[in-house]
Every structure is written in C-alpha cells, then in structure tokens.
C-alpha cells in the first residue's frame, strides 16, 4: 500500500474528547483521498501501530503530524516530545492542542481538587470509593516498580510543551478545513511557520444578523430568553463571543439562534481572548454608575472565566487559577 514517494502522516491525541478524531473521519469518502495521498503511519484511534514503532523511526521521519489534545500528564508530554522529534511538521490540531479548550478549564483547580471531584465526590465516574483510593504514580510489586503517568496541576497547550509549526483551530476543526489544510500540505502551499491555518476575521463578519449600535443594560443566559432570529445576539443581551472569535465556521451557532461560544479562539493579533471579550463587553454596557455596572456583570455573567475563557484558559496570559504558594506536591 505504501509507495516510497508518499508523505508520511501521523495523528495523535492527548487530553481531548476524541471529537477531533471524528472530525477527521467526517471528511467522509475524502478520507480515501487522504489515505491515497499519505502513508498513515501512526493513528492509535484507527490503526494498529505501536508507540515503539514511532520510537524506532528516525527523527523527522514523519512528514506531518496532526496532534490534538492538551498536555495533562507526563505520558502526554512524552508523546508530544516524541511526535515533535519524529515529525517535520507538527500541527496543533483543534482547540485543545491550540488553546487548551474545555479540559483547560480544569486549570481553575489543581490535581488534588480534580482527584477529589473524580474519586471522592464524583458520582458519575466512581459511585463508591470508601477507601479513598487515588491513582499512584508508583506501585511496588514483587516484579519491580510499576508506573502510572503523573497527573499535572496545570493543563498545558501543545506549544507550551514543544515547538508547534501550525495551528488548526476549532472544536473540532470543520471537516472541509481539515481537508484544505491537508491539501495545502500536499501541494506545499503552506503559510509562514507559526500561523493559524484559517481566516483572519471574526465570526461577526460571517454572521448574517442585523447589527446596529450596541447598548446593554442586562445580560441574559441562553435559557432565559428565546432570541429574535434577525437581530445581533449580543444586542439582545446574550453573551455572544463572535466579536472576538476567529471566523471559519460560517457563524454556525448564531445561524441556529445560539450565541457563539468562541471555539475557534482568538483572531490574529489578539494576545488574550478573554481580555478582548472583557474589553469589548465593557464598551457596550450602558451604565456610568459603578454600582449598577457591578450588578449588571454579576447578575448577567456569573462565571466570567468560563464565559470569557471557555476554550482558551490554558493559553491565556494567566493560564490558570492562582495556586496557593505553599502547595507544591
């Protein structure tokens, strides 16, 4: 199946939900074109290839690696380093690798708190844990010491861990965007290294809704009102993140009467996605009274971090919640 001229493609996942893998398959029959153009050497979700196969490859032996997921454990960091060394082009594929995404919101906690939720209070994951068992990175048995990956306090993005060549945004990236990116790679039509492969404009530019001057006295949560289908959602008081979010999705959510939640992340030139959102929203709140301003924000945006950094907390300037300085283990 592999002719020597075919470029080698690898796909790997770390801390992610698997949606990006499904997005790859959502190119439908075009996956056959991808398979025809590339020699897929490593893709744990779909192929029976082992890590040791990758370890045996020469450095730079893989032409392109699409890496999705953030870095949460030592094993994921090891794989990120391995895939970096073995790949000529490493693509942070999807929101998790790009900006941390939903798993990055766990940066509002540390390991201890995450474990408490999952192993102690968590009813969904583990109904009973009377002995309060926790995963141990080291277990001694008669044959020697067994290791589990170490779980980190802070989820890191791929480029906080290793050097990244390109970013493909989205949660998940749209199938046609994946295809055009992969095609660009085949044809050698790549943008400058370090680029986000996508549009350089905001979701508002793709949104067909009518916009006029924005003045907001009250923010609503999505369950509190059925929005008018033609007017800008932000003008109706919904926290629509289209103003700060990179275009490319075709304004999918606003078109079905649901506010943009920002999965494509920051547009070019935006250092900190949440800061851009705060800056923009502060401009449209219609009040000059500090007490009223505080009330509008408190009542309408009860979870500022989750609202402004839903997809990008790990990639934000502060990256995580403040850790008590005494906590170190």
């Amino acid at each position: 199946m592999s002719s020597p001229a075919k470029p080698k493609l690898a796909l790997y996942w770390a801390a992610s939900c698997g949606g990006c893998e499904i997005a790859v398959l959502a190119v439908n029959e075009k996956i056959l074109d991808v398979a025809a153009a590339f020699d897929i050497v490593f893709w744990p979700v779909a192929l029976d290839a082992k890590v040791r196969d990758v370890e045996k490859m020469p450095d730079g032996g893989i032409d392109v690696c699409l890496f999705n997921g953030g870095i949460r454990t030592s094993e994921q960091e090891y794989m990120a380093r391995l895939m970096r060394a073995k790949s000529k082009v490493l693509v942070a594929f999807g929101s998790c690798a790009h900006e941390g995404c939903i798993p990055g919101l766990a940066n509002l906690n540390n390991r201890e708190e995450v474990f408490n939720t999952v192993y102690q209070e968590g009813s969904a994951t583990l109904p009973e844990n009377p002995k309060d068992l926790r995963p141990q990175p080291e277990t001694r048995v008669a044959e020697g010491t067994l290791h589990l990956p170490v779980f980190y306090d802070t989820l890191k993005t791929l480029d906080q861990t290793v050097e990244v060549d390109y970013y493909l945004p989205g949660c998940p990236p749209e199938a046609e965007k994946i295809l055009s990116a992969v095609t660009a790679i085949i044809e050698g039509k790549l943008p400058p290294k370090g680029s986000v492969i996508g549009l350089n404009t905001t979701v508002c530019d793709e949104c067909p809704r009518k916009r006029s001057e924005k003045k907001i006295k009250k923010f609503y949560r999505t369950w509190q009102l059925i929005p008018d289908e033609e007017t800008c959602l932000l003008e109706q008081g919904l926290l629509c993140c289209g103003i700060a979010t990179r275009a490319g999705c075709g304004a999918l959510c606003p078109q079905v009467n649901s506010p943009c939640i920002g999965c494509h992340g920051a547009n070019n030139g935006v250092v900190d996605y949440g800061a851009r959102m705060m800056s923009a929203l502060a401009s449209v709140i219609d009040s000059q009274d500090p007490v009223e301003i505080n009330r509008i924000i408190k009542e309408g945006i009860p979870d500022p971090v989750g609202s402004f950094y839903r997809f990008s907390l790990a990639a934000s300037q502060l990256r995580r919640k403040k850790k008590p300085s005494a906590v170190s283990s």
Partner: protein, 165 residues
C-alpha cells in the same frame, strides 16, 4: 524565603491628562511616595486594555494601579467610564482566578491632586506588601516528579524494546 525585605513591584497606568500630571505635581511639590510603582503613561485610562493588566501580573507584577480623570472630567469625554467598566469586569474575573482584591486598584486623580495620588500609591504599596509576593509564573510550575516521570517512561520503553520477540 530569603531574609531580604519584600519590595512590591507595582505597575501604574496613569492617564496623560490628569493622573500623570498629578504624579508630576507630586514630584515638583516634593511630595513623597514609595518608589515601588513603575508608572506607564497612557493617553487615557480608556486606553488600558485588560490585556495590559493581565500581562503585568503574568510577568511578575505584585500589583497594578489604574488611574484616570474623575468621572465626568475625561479629556476624551467619557472614555474613563469605559475604564470603570473594564475594571469591574477584570475584578470579577480575577477574583475567580484567585487573585486578591487589593492587588488591582482603580483611582481617580485630577492634575491638581498630587497629594491624593501619592497617598493612593502609598496605600496600594502597603496593601500589597501585606499580601506578600505574587510571583504568578510560579503557578505554572509542576513539581519535581514531572521530569522523573518522563525519564521513567523513556527508560521503561527502552527496556521493553529490548525484550526478544
């Protein structure tokens, strides 16, 4: 901890038309205020993007002061109200991120209020001094077992690859 006294690093964003002139006035009038504040002049408090404030904390500032003209007296009509709203947004977001409230403060100081600005700086420095160093980048560090764990994976894989088939 070292024995040296903690000297807070405070970044101050002062507007060109009122607060920066208040600082100037404090200087010419020989009014003393602690040297812990590093003042950056901006044209208007409305020019201060929340990114600047987060950047200051992310790069090691212990506290940030925003200062502008009194409400209603902005050189650019109403941009200091924008600063007021951004400050309110930032405060609520930063409290969720675990930042102590006293590390970020908005003050109004007219060009005539050198004394008031000096007092506000003194108060902020004292409050931050009481809170201690922030050192935000330290929050990103993992403990020493991270490197050990990475080495263990590499070693175990190498050993496993030696097993004869």
């Amino acid at each position: 901890m070292s024995d040296t006294v903690f000297e807070p690093k405070i970044i101050g964003f002062l507007c060109n038309w009122c607060s920066y002139r208040a600082a100037d006035l404090a200087g010419t009038a020989r009014i003393k205020y602690p040297p812990n504040i590093r003042i950056l002049r901006v044209m208007c408090s409305g020019r201060v993007d929340p990114t600047f404030v987060l950047n200051a904390f992310a790069r090691g500032a212990d506290g940030v002061m925003l200062a502008g003209c009194h409400p209603g007296e902005c050189h650019y009509i109403d941009q200091n109200y924008k600063a007021m709203r951004r400050y309110a947004m930032l405060k609520q977001m930063l409290s969720q991120m675990g930042l102590e409230e006293d590390r970020l403060r908005l003050v109004w100081a007219s060009a005539a209020e050198g004394q008031q600005l000096a007092e506000a700086i003194e108060k902020l420095v004292a409050d931050v001094r009481r809170l201690g160093p922030l050192n935000w980048p330290k929050c990103w560090e993992e403990n020493g077992r991270r490197l050990e764990a990475l080495q263990n994976i590499a070693r175990e894989h190498a050993e496993a690859m030696e097993v004869p088939q």
